[in-house]
């Protein structure tokens, strides 16, 4: 199968430096381009004040100048749907659709071709908003984020909408964190710093790698300890799930984008928790020709004890993708 998987970076990866204003939006775009990646993904509400309000014309001009200058292209905007934005009120479907349409117009204005749909968006809202997305030629992808897997009940309901409408503008965005074969040590170590028992943590990691069902591990740990911090370690196994990467095959034509989630790259360009090579091979074999966008999420686990270097992390992640055949 011919594949032409492309490399991008979600600027979410630079959240530490962006938060502290050590890096500007342009700096993030420049850092992305420096890795050789060509795709830009943003969490709009992070990167652009006022999102999803349409930014100023001045900003829009600047945005496309940056795209030209750095030889990158807008790929995906990650939207949110805060049904409970107004205290005591839950969005009606109409309000939710209106909110979503704002994100579609925002994405469209900035040249994004894909929107990451947040997991709590309901299938009935998707059905109502698809025509608007089609009109703007923007593909909507529901993010398949751990602990969901692509055949989970909730994902199946979305799949039923895809089947029912036959649209080409609604699909899946698997997040690589859904293939967590081994728990991320930065996450485990943070809990140990917060007081978790290292022996219990070791046990949980072993059980997770053996593929033991999280329920069992949680039960065993509840018999080893009555401390909440130890239960939190056990719960890591429940939330950082793994599924056989071949589960993507049957859905390949509907995979519109991929989140390259990672927690901590080694110097040898490996993400120890996630079998990237296996997943990339499945994507290649299936003829996937969209982007994999680096999505560094390790900063929150190390920021208490060290300076975060997201630029280096993303560089290494991008090199890993290249090593596995993503040009």
């Amino acid at each position: 199968m011919n594949h032409s998987i492309k490399r991008g970076v979600s600027l979410y990866s630079y959240q530490e430096e962006f938060f502290l204003k050590k890096m500007s939006l342009e700096d993030c775009i420049a850092a992305t381009a420096a890795t050789g990646a060509t795709g830009i993904e943003i969490v709009g509400e992070q990167s652009i004040p006022g999102c999803p309000n349409i930014p100023s014309d001045k900003f829009v001009v600047q945005w496309f100048e940056w795209m030209d200058k750095y030889n990158v292209t807008p790929v995906a905007h990650d939207m949110f749907l805060d049904y409970n934005k107004k205290k005591g009120h839950y969005y009606t479907d109409e309000e939710a659709v209106e909110s979503f349409k704002k994100d579609i117009r925002f994405a469209h204005k900035l040249g994004f071709k894909i929107i990451r749909v947040i997991v709590n968006t309901t299938p009935q809202i998707m059905e109502k908003v698809i025509p608007y997305a089609e009109d703007h030629d923007i593909k909507l992808g529901i993010e398949v984020h751990a602990p969901w897997h692509i055949n989970s009940p909730w994902m199946t309901r979305h799949w039923e909408v895809m089947e029912k409408t036959g649209t080409k503008h609604f699909g899946f965005i698997p997040d690589m964190g859904g293939f967590t074969k081994r728990l991320a040590m930065v996450q485990v170590n943070r809990l140990i710093r917060q007081g978790a028992d290292p022996e219990i943590a070791k046990f949980v990691c072993e059980q997770h790698e053996k593929g033991v069902m999280a329920e069992y591990t949680i039960y065993e740990v509840s018999r080893m300890s009555d401390r909440r911090i130890d239960m939190a370690v056990a719960e890591l196994s429940r939330h950082n799930t793994f599924a056989n990467p071949i589960s993507l095959k049957e859905h390949m034509d509907r995979i519109v984008h991929v989140h390259g989630k990672f927690y901590d790259m080694t110097e040898d360009f490996i993400e120890p928790s996630i079998p990237y090579e296996d997943v990339i091979n499945v994507l290649k074999d299936g003829g996937y020709n969209g982007y994999i966008c680096s999505e560094y999420e390790g900063n929150r686990h190390i920021q208490d004890i060290q300076e975060v270097d997201s630029v280096l992390q993303v560089k290494r992640h991008q090199q890993m993708l290249v090593n596995y055949g993503v040009k």
Binding site: Y12, Q15, F18, F19, L20, K21, V43, E45, Q46, S47, P49, G50, C51, F80, L81, D82, Y83, N84, K85, K86, K87, I118, V119, N120, N299, R300, Q303, D304
Partner: protein, 129 residues
């Protein structure tokens, strides 16, 4: 996440209004990877030396606008952006006494995709000159 960056001491001071100290203020960042509309701030709780100050005395100053608790609840458009340092002004007669204090900030954000509230806490030892 970002708890260690929540309290921004640089902006810490007692506030003088018409010759009297009306309260104190300090800088704050939202402990979240994206900005939110002010209406999503379920709770902003400030404590000094272990004592929680009344919610209705806490005012959020976002760029040119000031919002009290009720105003925050109803504000769907204005946002506390990601990484943005806003000021929290707390009405308090005579402000904070000179010297060291333990300042606590708890922010509770009502987030759409979480079934439970996102509560983040920060503590910092601060000094009033």
């Amino acid at each position: 996440m970002f708890e260690k960056y929540m309290i921004v001491e640089d902006n810490l001071k007692n506030v003088v209004d018409e010759g009297k100290v009306s309260g104190f203020q300090f800088g704050a960042r939202l402990p979240y990877y994206r900005g939110v509309s002010l209406s999503m701030l379920e709770e902003i709780e400030v404590s000094v030396d272990g004592k929680v100050l009344p919610q209705d005395k806490v005012h959020l100053i976002v760029r040119d606008n000031t919002y009290n608790l009720k105003q925050r609840e109803e504000e769907l458009d204005d946002r506390w952006e990601m990484g943005e340092v806003v000021n929290l002004f707390i009405e308090k007669e005579e402000g904070l006494p000179k010297g060291k204090h333990q300042l606590g900030l708890k922010v509770n954000i009502r987030i759409g995709y979480l079934p439970f509230p996102a509560i983040r806490n920060a503590q910092k030892e601060i000094t009033i000159e």
